[in-house]
Symmetry: none
Subunit: 260 residues, 2 copies
DNA sequence: AAGGCAGTTCCAAATTCCGGAACCTTGTCC
DNA sequence: GGACAAGGTTCCGGAATTTGGAACTGCCTT
């Protein structure tokens, strides 16, 4: 096992759950003897990969990781990062993927990932739709405060497709459901026979939010397939949220009663 | 020279000016033989510290640096406290705020608070600049001992913008002025037409130091506005120093003649 | 076909790393 | 104050990794 491998093993001990570690923590987590841990921690600290709190003596990722991390992100902004993940999911499931942003009470499609299944693409990039009537649109709305939502929805509630929420109360009920379950689903709304599932992704850095959805024909898919999509989306959401530092928990905590 | 040292040497080749590097770039920058470079790059890639673009084959900082970078001082009291205050000042004045730390004779931007005034942000987080040429950088240096400063500044004094101190003596004169007046100001240094005012904040608990600055367009602000910024900053500094137990007086008391 | 570019693999010598044990430091308890 | 424990560092010989020159492999270009 090389010195670099050991160094990485230490670095990988840090996580959002454990953003800083004591000497003893590192020893316990890596299972290495004291002398090795001591030497390695010192090296990592000296080279800037770790920092040590002068008071508590605990270690945390260093300035160098911060600088390098910023450079990594430069190549991978929120949208292209999400698009890459979405492509994989669409390739696996055969369905069509969407990435959109919120603008007022509408959403605008930014990217589309055509699936292999024969389903005509009806929402090209630039397409504007009421966010109230799509899975990812509602997922984005669900992350706003109730106050903010009220301000966005027009005074006279818009006329929406049959299966969409028909008034403000119905809308809030659906958003609460999304907040509770973390799942946003749509079927037979904007387009007859088309369903979708989506979620909202927010960058911890810039605060920008995008909505990601996978869309399919309701008739041509089985319940099992749709459950599979749900699993795929959940995994993608988890991965992307880790990558972008999505501040998911702080968002709605104070506003809603349920915990999410 | 240890394997880790060599690895770090490679990682330090990356910067905002050079966010990705080819094999040849790394070889040229480190001066190491081909075989060593090849082995090391592969190790770094395999462990996640670097990524390789599958198409161009160029290297860039990897996902691991991104994840660790997010953890860097993620819940640092000093910084988040300062950021909160800075946000208020920036909201009131409309100017852009920066929080940075000192690393050698350079500073690294940690946080930025965009102002409402139209001034393009040219120093994103992670940006590295000579601390000698910024208001908050010099404010931080001013709180070190003369001995420490001398050790940090390179033997051959770096070439700095026109309005920055051009040699060690000029630098010390400016630092003494900061120590005397408690005010650090910059104008037309790193960026033409941009001025800033800053101060250094030190935690009495951990001893860590950060530099806080407010930046504005020199042309688009009046002297009165800048005086207002000075008052805002003085108030913020006083408040933060009380909150963090900044041991301001002990710092330089022994070193300098004036009391501040 | 030859040549240059980009990078990998091989190998023996040399350096570094590993980990047990002894040794410091600091804070704590009686 | 003295003893003790926890937390951490230093030492050292044997073991393992690293090193860099040279040869090798693809892959373009001329």
């Amino acid at each position: 096992m090389s010195a670099l491998t050991n160094a990485i093993e230490i670095l990988r001990c840090f996580s959002s759950a454990r953003p800083d570690l004591s000497f003893a923590d590192v020893m316990a987590l890596t299972g290495k003897p004291k002398s090795s841990t001591s030497r390695l921690l010192r090296s990592l600290r000296d080279c800037g990969l770790l920092e040590q709190d002068p008071h508590t003596r605990r270690y945390r990722p260093g300035l160098l990781t911060f600088e390098l991390g910023r450079l990594h992100r430069a190549h991978d902004d929120l949208i292209s990062m999400a698009e890459r993940e979405l492509r994989e999911v669409c390739a696996r499931t055969g369905h069509t993927g969407y990435i959109a942003v919120l603008d007022g009470y509408e959403q605008v499609v930014l990217r589309i990932v055509p699936g292999s299944n024969p389903l005509r693409v009806v929402n090209p990039p630039g397409q504007r739709t009421p966010a109230l009537a799509t899975s990812n649109g509602r997922a984005m709305l669900a992350r706003l405060t109730d106050e903010d939502i009220r301000a966005r929805v027009p005074a006279t509630y818009p006329k929406l497709p049959r299966n969409s929420p028909q008034n403000f109360k119905q809308l809030m009920a659906r958003l609460d459901e999304i907040r509770r379950t973390g799942v946003s689903e749509a079927a037979d709304e904007s387009i007859e026979g088309v369903g979708s599932q989506g979620f909202a992704l927010k960058s911890g850095e810039t605060g920008e939010m995008i909505g990601i959805a996978v869309s399919y024909s309701v008739q041509a898919t089985t319940a099992a397939e749709r459950a599979d999509v749900r699993r795929e989306l959940a995994a993608m959401a988890a991965k992307l949220r880790r990558m972008t530092g999505d501040p998911l928990d702080q968002d709605t905590a104070r506003v809603q009663t349920g915990t999410r």
